[in-house]
């Protein structure tokens, strides 16, 4: 991250990173399949946290609540690392290849969530939909958390969920393609 800050992502070569870490380029590629991967080492842990939380949730809880609660358990992962998260987000915003990788990781988490729900006897169709909605909420909340020092991640998760509920509720009323713009402004 230091190197990326100094020289920018693309002007930092893998050889540079390896040298700074006291290693060889070859060794770098044994730890990270990609140059990009060096910025996604936490993805595995995040995924595990969520999947485990879903697996150990009470069976009676509705699926959406289960997933949402699982998202909240990830807060400690970032709690003390908001500065780092902000730097990372800045990098992502500047480099399409990093954004693509991020999308890939999130998509992967979505399928894991979906699988976990199906293990709880949620239908495949509902599971993927819930999983995708959950990831959308998480993305939105995380983005706002990075920028807003006043509230914590769970707060923003709650807010994003409320927003989604409001939108989907009004989408329901718009069913027969009439009834002018209630979702406006």
């Amino acid at each position: 991250m230091e190197l990326f800050q100094q020289r920018g992502y693309e002007h930092t070569t893998v050889a540079d990173i390896a040298a700074k870490a006291g290693l060889t380029e070859r060794t770098f590629f044994r730890y990270f399949s990609d140059k990009r991967e060096v910025l996604f080492s936490g993805a595995k842990a995040l995924e595990k946290l969520i999947v485990d939380a879903i697996a150990s949730a009470p069976v009676a809880l509705p699926p959406f609540e289960v997933v949402f609660a699982a998202l909240k358990t990830t807060a400690p992962l970032f709690e003390s690392r908001r500065a780092h998260a902000r730097q990372r987000q800045a990098l992502l915003s500047q480099h399409a290849e990093l954004r693509e990788r991020e999308l890939g990781k999130l998509a992967n988490i979505a399928v894991r969530i979906s699988e976990s729900l199906q293990a709880r006897h949620v239908s495949a169709a509902n599971a993927t939909l819930i999983a995708e909605a959950a990831v959308a909420i998480y993305r939105s909340a995380f983005e706002r958390w990075v920028a807003d020092t006043k509230h914590d991640l769970p707060h923003h998760l709650q807010a994003a969920l409320a927003q989604l509920r409001k939108l989907t509720a009004s989408a329901k009323t718009a069913t027969p393609a009439t009834k002018a713009a209630r979702t406006r402004h």
Copy 2:
């Protein structure tokens, strides 16, 4: 696509593609910024179709309806190319780097949709949420369309929308974290 079918994506070098097209590798990179991009030449047209459809929709129509109608206008783009679409999907499913690029393109379309909605005086928060939901629907519908020869793309779009409505409707009832699993199975 021929080359990819024969040798596989990764064993097809850009030099191969260029040679087959009667060009130089250098020229290839003047048309496509990436090796990956050769499989995404249609993204620009798809985006334009959707954005234009949104821009020219009646002002009275609710935003979600506008976007959904815009998605339907893209059907002719693929109408006669289901075989090609299937081959492409197979490639995507086998190569993470291609899937990532696809996610990037779709995310980009989502922000374009959101911008188009905001130009129609939809709030930023609602616009991004609607855009993301729309892309989710599109992805799901497209996937099923590729596999199911019996129905056309608009049919699958309609089905995906119905499914989302059903899910969000029941999500609404689950607000106070009680009321056992109604969304199950």
